[in-house]
């Protein structure tokens, strides 16, 4: 299996085409990719379930899949799920990337949440490192400093995800303030880290397109895409990502506007807001983009479940199944 520069550009072009960019953009993309080498990627997993890595492995644009991303777009030097390396060899590979950051810039990816409790999450044992045990938080602090860009992938890495569910009291209060891009709460971002090079790509899991397109967008422009106040890319390669609410793209919206509300999850037609759908409060392109190559998403007619707001900072604010009253149906 020999991959040439030409294959590389072809595959990058497919990724761009899937995102719906113009021929001109495509030309610009090819040039940018031809001018730049592949970035090294260091991928740490914190408190999480590897769901985002599994989701990324589903990447497929109709012609090529994740193996082409791994072969051609990036140089994945450390990822505990996929890497061949074990033990000290794995740590050494990550250390080499860290040492050579000026010659070959690297992107740091975090999936899973960071715990600042000592011993809560250990990346590995490193004979060259302190007491021999490398905590995730120590590793992340170290590699974050020299990373060209930092991608926080998935709900856990971005905003804590299900890990921050602990200690929450159960509340049935309805969400009266609809978050917008302009009035976000403090989303708990760790201010120790450099926000100017950070991109937040949430979701539980994150959509494989969101992850790959983020990397391609950054490579193309040698800069972060425009972010909303939650750190999310509003659009990637010209295609809206976290720009609009799920509700605004939902085929059930006319039912909502007409006041037709389902009284149980499982209704194939009516709006599910009254039983807890968070599509009105959630920014993502799920209904437009679809999942798994079959156009799926949680509140799709035929699936009939709730949007549970997994791209929002409030995701862990359970319950998911809740009664919401006093729904404003003003279009």
């Amino acid at each position: 299996m020999n991959i040439t520069r030409r294959d590389f550009l072809r595959m990058a072009a497919y990724a761009a085409a899937a995102a719906g960019v113009s021929q001109f953009d495509l030309f610009r993309l090819q040039k940018a990719l031809a001018d730049n080498g592949k970035p090294n990627v260091i991928w740490f997993e914190g408190l999480g379930d590897s769901g985002c890595v599994v989701s990324l492995a589903n990447y497929f644009d109709g012609t090529v899949g994740i193996e082409d991303v791994l072969l051609n777009h990036i140089e994945l030097k450390f990822n505990s799920v996929l890497m061949g390396a074990a033990g000290q060899a794995a740590i050494d590979a990550a250390e080499a990337v860290y040492a050579n950051y000026l010659d070959t810039p690297y992107v740091l990816v975090l999936t899973g949440a960071i715990s600042n409790l000592d011993g809560y999450c250990i990346v590995g044992e490193d004979a060259t490192h302190g007491n021999g045990v490398m905590q995730l938080i120590e590793a992340f602090n170290k590699w974050e400093e020299r990373a060209a860009y930092v991608l926080y992938v998935g709900a856990c890495a971005c905003y804590g995800g299900v890990n921050s569910m602990g200690g929450n009291s159960v509340s049935n209060e309805t969400q009266t303030i609809i978050p917008t891009h302009n009035n976000p709460p403090n989303f708990g971002r760790n201010t120790n880290y450099d926000y100017s090079k950070s991109l937040y790509i949430p979701g539980c899991p994150s959509h494989p397109d969101w992850i790959v397109l983020s990397i391609v967008d950054i490579l193309t422009n040698a800069a972060l895409p425009t972010r909303d106040s939650f750190g999310r890319p509003l659009s990637l390669l010209g295609t809206p990502i976290f720009a609009n609410t799920v509700h605004s793209q939902c085929p059930r919206k006319p039912e909502h506007d007409a006041g037709n509300f389902a009284d149980h999850v499982g209704d194939p037609v009516k709006c599910l807001r009254k039983v807890g759908c968070r599509g009105k409060d959630t920014f993502a392109d799920c209904p437009t983009r679809g999942w798994n190559g079959v156009g799926g998403y949680c509140n799709k007619p035929g699936i009939n479940h709730l949007c549970i707001g997994c791209t929002q900072a409030f995701f862990s604010d359970v319950p998911f199944n809740r009664e919401i009253d006093n729904i404003d149906t003003t279009p």
Binding site: G65, E67, L82, V170, P205, G266
Partner: protein
Amino acid sequence: MATTIVDPLPRVEGHLKVTLQIDSGQITDAWIAGNLYRGFENFINGQSPLDAPLITQRVCGVCPTAHAVAAVLAIDDAANVQPTHNGRLMRNLINGAEFLHSHFLHTYHLALQDYIDMTAALGGSTFNQGPWAPVYGGDRRITGTDLDRFANSYVTALRMRKDAHSVGALLAGKQPHGASIIGGGCSATPAASDITQMRALTQQIKDFIENSYIPDLDLLFNTYYPDYFSIGVGSGRLLSYGAFRQNTGSTNSMLIKRGVYDGSSVIDIMDHNNIVEDISSGWYLGSDNLHPAAGETNPDPAKAGGYSWLKAPRYKTDGILKDVYEVGPLARMVVTGDYPAQVSVADREISRTVEALKIANGMLAWLDEMENVHGISSPSYVPYEVPASTTGVGLTEAIRGALGHWVEYDADTKISHYQIITPTCWNASPRDAGGIMGTIEQALIGTPILNAGQPVEALRVIHSYDPCLACAVHVIRDDGKTIKNFIVG
């Protein structure tokens, strides 16, 4: 004598550390520990049972559906409700698709690199690209066209596991972490075109299983690594809760049977009341040998003799004495009668291919049953009120083995106690009060190691169990003290 610590141990889901004592080219002692701590059993307390499938599936991104199914079986049990036929079939289909995705992922993308030098397959001796390089060297027996064949299967299997997720997404909206598994059945109402698409995708996956998956594993072990039919035996006792209900009502009517293999014969009874959790080597205080429904979680990292955050589930085969059991696809296939009662690394890996074909055939039959027996417009779920002050048990199989959820509700119909025993808790369990090692620890003993610094042979043994540590270590710590490191003197 050499002590080798492999940490991080890659290509497992989560963070795993193994400490090996190697003497004269053989493993003479072994300790396994998880290095990742979450908190599901604590933070689910006080929540609505309706949310249990959505919350607990996020224990594991590789097998979320299995957790959703275990949770929904527990809440259905608490309400004494059976799902509708189509609800049952859709749960089977989503979970079956997840089994296929995960088996392919395990075999080709996680375990295969212990046998195949992917760097050689991809680009020859100069190829040095992550995530495939660097790798442990030594004992790579496959070259030439057979090497190309495995590399091709690695890529094809990426497609196949993606397509398996597509089948699940047609009924669950997305994968991983689908949305549709609810009390009383499933929320989805698929169209005839969805059934057609699922059938076509499943048939294509079945073709891959028959034409590549089964012959690949046959070639790998019968031609190149036949010695692995006698390496990694472990406890030699096998346990299955069973999965994929073939009818409503009887729990024994399942595609994959419930039962145990006690080392000499298959017994078609598995009574979960005979399960206890031994905490002798776990960093826990409190009562020992509790049934999971009464399980306690009182961490104490300074506890003498502790070396793992895993409790040790044991099964009392005769109702009295505790025995160490292995769970997983080999256990399921032996108990179901689809695989001979032999236990080794190779048998474990090959049993996955046998199970994959059985499940693919099962899925095609479930699609037919849905369409032609009950009809796709037959009810997908039966609505019910959540009862107060009661208990429920959900036993099923995750891809890695037996998975149980035990739930208790308070008077306000909220969850007041939740206990999960995951398959990796069984397989990666530490020593118990009798000093008996967990089955992976046992399996490692005697494994020949060519190079103590690069014990690829140990990875083969451990990976054959497909351990999943996010899943196994789901307790939370209430302090911030340093973990005690277990150092072999």
